[in-house]
Amino acid sequence: MKRVLIVDDAVTVRMYHRQQVEEIGLKAEEAANGVEALEKMMRDNFDLLLVDVNMPKMDGYRFLKEVRQNPDLMSIPAIMISTEAGEQDEAQAYEAGANYYLVKPVQPEVLQSIVNILVGGTR
């Protein structure tokens, strides 16, 4: 089963994304900030990361940079999901290492399709 790590400090958002991810038959794990997420990634393998921007302890940008510099983790695709629709925010996400950028709230169908594509699912 493919595994998705949901990194967001908002419980509600994590729960929402978890529902979407589990609905298409994937396994979801949650982390409340970058530090927690990195710890989880040391223990388990993940196929895809859904990352929020604003988080305590370690924000999304910092976290993605850490991931992209770690030889064991650097190739995992990451989607950054932010509340901001600005071009600047999007550029910053790509610079940090995101492969795709979505603005909250994401339509379930869109999120599920993208997640399905990026975990290397089947048509």
Partner: protein, 882 residues
């Protein structure tokens, strides 16, 4: 309620609590960036999560607050106490909405209105900053979206609109559309709407109309403003906001595009005469032969009736074709279509955008289409990524992750390339230290798909504001694997209802196990089996112990620290003291003290009253304190301590204190005490009088050094929660009020008494003593039976008579003793004459329901171990029946 919404409510409440704490800390450390960041994040999180639901008013308010905090964080704005007030009010409102959501699953009907009001206030703080710094507001969220309130563009005549369009540099330029609906009484505020409108810089168009038909001349009031204004301007939003500063709530602005002004008007005529033109025009558009098209338009116009819709569309065609910015193809197509069909197609149809519009897939086929579209979009994004500058330390990560994404996207984008091919490209790129092999590869793929241009996608630029989390998720329940056991979870959040169920079950169990001793007794007496009786008793002992532990454990679960209630007080004290112009310091002690959740919740309201009183009436204004030689800052202390099985809360202040003389005199005037009592009453007793009903009426406030308001109400609240209240005060030095409440309300201990063959329970906390008194010690004073106990005069009442039961001992003999239960009803001591005393028991009191609920004289009922029902008396109500 759906779990996601519940989760959102819980989470947001916690964050709001955090935020209001942070605000209070900020007041003392205004420059503490840590606090500010925490505050910002809390609000930001609420905003983000609220977007999942269809609660725009709430989201908008939180969003506005977030914007303010963002600017504060950047150091461009200093929070004044007034601003904090507005922010706190907004948070309060959000809290109220959360309550509504929990109760109704939707916001209150007036939410829109309130939201707008708060938003305006919040935005007001920012607009000043923007103006001061001469900064442009970039956030489009500050402008009304187009459409909803711009229904008056059609009121502008075609000539005027054409003039504006002709003068515009570019058809994609925007204008501000301003709607100004002055208050009817605005002339009395010194407003001059017409003058203000005329001040609008770079005005393109200006219109006035009446809101409703003019009233009859006899009823017409020239001093009410019955008109509204419209305007189009090229001015910036800041200029307009500044101009309308004083009437901002009466003004709406929206951005419109010059193109929004281009639409034909008029009666739709027969299509036939235009058939030929449409044929030619379509041909000419394909050939992009604009000059010939212009000639064709001129010809068609000569034969068309000028008032027709088609003629209007032709005139617009002419304007667009002649426009200095060059021909706009999509507009021309639309106008030709308008000539052909009599309907102007909505909006600007740009085919590239059409492709990227994500519709809601209803069927599998559409889903596939969506997936393909998204896969292509992901590819395009990777293409963009490969062209961005990249810091060296992130280079490899970027390359490998993009490679991984490409491999996964291939099967979805209908591209016949193998993953091996991509792996080879990645190796090549690493060797060359350049993204170009991958970039070339993507460019090839995308050009074969016929879209080379990486372009911004509306898919993500404008997420559709809608609540995906409505019934849909509930209609098709998803079986979820249970989440893996995590070691990090130390605290479980459990819905209170579940705990209540647990509590109920425990109490059932307690009652059920009480039947075992009775069973043992019967085993011995009826079935003559001592063995069995003994075993039953042993079993009972074991079950009893487990039951008690279970009960304690469940109660522990319900225990919460009083800080739940206390934490709102710093804010209350701050607000009140600001309002009253006093200086007050609040000291909180023992907020970690725990008590049953319900007890803690019941504390909130009386405490609010008491704190109000302390600040309002106790603490003197600063100048008065100074004159008295007291520290200027008054002190209010809130303390919680555990005493045995009670939790005691003390509220003390170092203010004026209460003058017992005044209280006495008032009580006498009100007829609460008689003359005799007036002379005898101790100061101590006099103070207690302020809890008496009737003394505490609002009119007292001013002359009984204040403390009158609601003391009776406070006492009632505390007593209803099973507690008691007392007061100590020293004139000029301050006042201490203590509330003591039971730690838990779940289990009550009652003393069982028997009257007229019936058994009743009396709450043990109101029992003072049980005595047996020779009947001839009972005296008739003023026709009432009384008894003297240790020099106290105790009035008596025969419980049997009150409850209208026939007591067994109607004929009282002189030698007989009377069993008297001396109780404290909170106001006085009273002796209840009963037939017999029984033992005390622990019970779980259930309030009476249905018809029985009307009998206020009973506090509730419980089941005894042998299945009998025990009614528990409510002494306070009982006294009223005497």
């Amino acid at each position: 309620m759906n779990t996601l919404l519940q989760e959102f409510i819980n989470e947001s409440r916690e964050l709001l609590e955090e935020a209001s704490q942070a605000f209070l800390h900020l007041e003392n450390n205004p420059d503490d960036l840590n606090i500010l960041n925490g505050l910002f994040r809390a609000i930001h999180t609420i905003k983000g999560s609220s977007g999942l639901f269809d609660i725009a008013p709430l989201t908008n308010v939180v969003h506005a607050a977030e914007d303010v905090l963002d600017i504060v964080r950047e150091g461009r704005l200093k929070l004044s106490p007034d601003m904090v007030d507005i922010l706190l009010d907004s948070l309060d409102q959000v809290n109220t909405w959360l309550d509504d959501l929990e109760a109704e699953e939707k916001l209150s009907p007036d939410a829109e209105e309130i939201s707008e009001e708060l938003k305006t206030k919040l935005r007001g703080m920012i607009s000043n900053v923007a103006l001061e710094n001469g900064q442009q507001e970039t956030d489009t969220g500050h402008e009304a979206e187009l459409g909803s309130n711009i229904d008056w563009l059609a009121k502008i005549s075609e000539e005027e609109r054409q003039l504006i369009v002709r003068q515009a540099q570019n058809l994609n330029d925007t204008l501000l559309a301003i709607t100004y609906i002055p208050d009817e009484q605005c002339f009395f505020n010194g407003d001059d709407p017409l003058y203000t409108m005329r001040q609008i810089p770079e005005l393109c168009w200006f219109g006035i109309e009446t809101r409703e038909p003019w009233p009859d001349i006899n009823e017409f009031d020239p001093f009410t403003c019955l008109v509204q204004f419209y305007a189009l301007t090229k001015a910036s939003l800041e200029e307009i906001k500044e101009l309308f500063t004083y009437v901002e709530e009466e003004v709406q602005q929206a951005r419109i595009s010059i193109q929004d002004l281009i639409f034909p008007q008029g009666e739709v005529g027969d299509n036939e005469p235009f058939g030929l033109f449409v044929q030619d025009a379509t041909q000419l558009i394909d050939n992009k032969d604009w000059s010939s098209l212009l000639k064709a338009v001129d010809v068609a116009l000569e034969v068309a009736g000028p008032d027709l819709f088609q003629a209007s569309a032709l005139r617009w065609l002419k304007v667009v074709l002649e426009h200095p910015s060059g021909p706009n193809e999509s507009l021309i197509k639309n106008l030709v279509q308008a000539v052909a069909t009599g309907i102007m197609p909505e909006g600007e149809v740009v085919e590239e955008q059409e492709e990227n519009k994500v519709d809601y897939p209803q069927e599998e086929g559409q889903k596939d289409e969506l997936t393909t579209k998204l896969a292509l979009d992901i590819l395009r994004t990777q293409q963009k990524l490969l062209q961005l500058p990249c810091p060296p330390e992130l280079w490899t990560g970027r390359l490998l992750s993009i490679g991984e994404v490409l491999k996964r996207c291939l099967p979805f984008s209908a591209i016949e390339k193998s993953t091996e091919e991509i792996s080879a490209l990645i190796d090549k790129a690493q060797k060359e230290k350049s993204f170009s092999p991958l970039l070339t590869f993507i460019n090839d793929i995308l050009s074969s798909k016929g879209s080379t241009e990486p372009e911004p996608e509306p898919i993500r630029k404008e997420p559709e504001k809608q609540a995906p989390v409505q019934q849909e998720t509930e209609k098709k329940p998803v079986v979820k694997p249970s989440p893996p056991v995590k070691q990090t979870i130390k605290v479980l959040k459990v819905d209170q209802k579940r705990i209540d169920v647990l509590m109920d079950l425990v109490s059932e169990l307690v009652v059920a196990k009480n039947s075992l001793p009775f069973l043992a007794k019967r085993a011995e007496e009826v079935f003559q089996s001592r063995e069995l009786a003994k075993e039953l008793k042993t079993q009972y002992g074991a079950i009893n112990r487990i039951c008690e532990e279970l009960q304690t454990a469940v109660m522990q679960v319900r225990m919460v620290p009083v800080s739940h209630v206390f934490q709102r007080f710093p804010r209350l004290v701050r607000d009140l003291s600001r309002k009253l112009g006093k200086k007050v310091r609040l000291i909180i002690e023992g907020e970690e003290t725990e008590a049953d959740k319900n007890v803690v919740e019941d504390l909130a309201e009386p405490l609010v009253h008491l704190l109000r009183n302390s600040i309002d009436h106790g603490i003197e204004p600063p100048e008065e304190r100074e004159a008295l030689g007291k520290p200027i800052e008054g002190e209010v202390r809130l303390r919680a301590i555990h005493l045995e099985d009670q939790v005691v809360i003390e509220i003390s202040d170092d203010g004026r204190g209460i003058d017992p003389e005044i209280v006495k005199r008032k009580a006498y005037e009100k007829g609460l005490i008689d003359e005799e009592k007036l002379d005898q009453i101790t100061e101590e007793e006099a103070l207690q009088l302020i809890f008496a009903p009737g003394l505490s009426t609002a009119e007292q406030v001013s002359d009984v050094s204040g403390r009158g308001v609601g003391m009776d109400a406070v006492r009632t609240m505390v007593e209803n929660a099973g507690g008691s209240i007392s007061i100590k005060s020293e004139k000029g030095r301050g006042t201490v009020i203590s509330l003591s409440l039971p730690l838990t309300m779940a289990v009550t201990r009652v003393l069982m008494i028997e009257v007229g063959g019936e058994i009743f329970g009396v709450p043990i906390e109101s029992v003072m003593e049980t005595v047996r008194v020779p009947a001839n010690d009972i005296h008739l004073i003023k026709n009432k039976e009384t008894v003297i106990l240790r020099n106290r005069l105790i009035p008596l009442c025969r419980l049997g008579d009150v409850l209208q039961l026939s007591t067994q001992e109607n004929a009282r003999k002189e030698t007989e003793e009377e069993a008297i239960l001396v109780v404290n009803t909170g106001r006085e001591e009273l002796g209840l004459i009963v037939d017999k005393f029984h033992e005390g028991v622990d019970i779980i009191l259930k309030p009476l329901e249905g018809l029985m609920a009307k009998f206020r004289i009973y506090a509730g009922a419980t089941l005894l171990g042998d299945g009998r029902v025990l009614l528990v008396l409510n002494l306070k109500e009982l006294v009223k029946c005497l």
